[in-house]
Amino acid sequence: MLSRLVVVSAHGLKSSSPLGAGCYVVSRSLVQASRSLHTSSQSRAPLPPLPEKGGQVRHGIFPEEIFQLLYPKTGVTGPYMLGTGLLMYMLSKEIYVINHETFAAASIGAVIIYGVKKFGPSVAAFADKLNDDKVAKAQEVKDVSLTSLAQAIEDEKKEQWRVEGRAMLFDAKRNNVAMQLETNYRERLHMVTNEVKRRLDYQVALQNLHIQMEKEHMVKWVEKSVIGSITPQQEKESIAKCITDLKALARATQTSATA
């Protein structure tokens, strides 16, 4: 209820006060008193979780321990009888004096009790919701960082897997380069053979040309010398021979035609 709001605000105070931060104590009963775990104000141990419920009180103001203390000797009604007796004693001896303030205290007490009984649970639920929101936010931060770190781990593993594949990549590249070198080498080989063949063909053609030219030249020269050597005398003789041959041929054909 109200103390939960105090917790919500006091947490801030407590965490900022250096003395309180270290001596974190959890006490459960009157007999077990508080112990400070460390002598210095800083402690590295993880904080124990908050206890679920605080010390029990009955009727809002009486700690349960009194009832437990008196139970073995006086049973269940002991503390109530004690309270009644004390009240009667104080009233009769006027250790507690009834005056105008008594009336004021009674009215205020009635209003407070009515308020607490009526609005207590809703205020408690509200404070619980505030606390839960805070816890959920912190949890969310933690979860987000956890997921992001897990994602980072996954990515890292993926990168490692990629690195393994890199060897294959290099092999493929090496093959490519080897093929390129091979084709280049063969091209150049072709080029070399072509060039060599061309040069040799040229030489062969050159030689053929020489031979041919020599032949032609010789033939021409022979013709020329033969034609030059035909003297006019020979020309006349040959022409006369041709005429006699022609006459003979004509006589032959004549006789064959008439026969």
């Binding site: 109200l2 939960r4 003395l19 104590v25 008193a33 419920k53 605080g54 010390g55 009180v57 507690y96």
Partner: protein
């Protein structure tokens, strides 16, 4: 203040609930009443009360109600000499 481990220690260092009636005098004599000691005693008491009733997940009205009732009672005690004059009867 030396709060040692719980056990059979010299009288001064026992807790009040474990001190026997006869040893009360020596126990009181041995306590630290310097300002520092008083302050640390107040701080310890505060921490005990705070961690028992207030610094919990589901605290109730008892945490502050007890403090307020204690304040009312203490203020009545301090004002008693003044309130004495409002008594209804002189002799009880």
């Amino acid at each position: 203040m030396s709060d040692g481990m719980f056990g059979n220690l010299p009288v001064i260092e026992k807790r009040l609930m474990d001190v026997k009636l006869g040893e009360l005098g020596t126990w009181l004599g041995g306590r630290d009443f310097t300002p520092n000691g008083l302050l640390s005693a107040v701080r310890r008491g505060h921490d005990r009360y705070y961690n028992k009733y207030i610094n919990v997940k589901k605290g109730g009205i008892g945490g502050i109600a007890m403090v307020l009732v204690g304040y009312v009672a203490l203020s009545y005690l301090w004002e008693y000499d003044h309130i004495k004059h409002d008594r209804w009867r002189k002799y009880h």
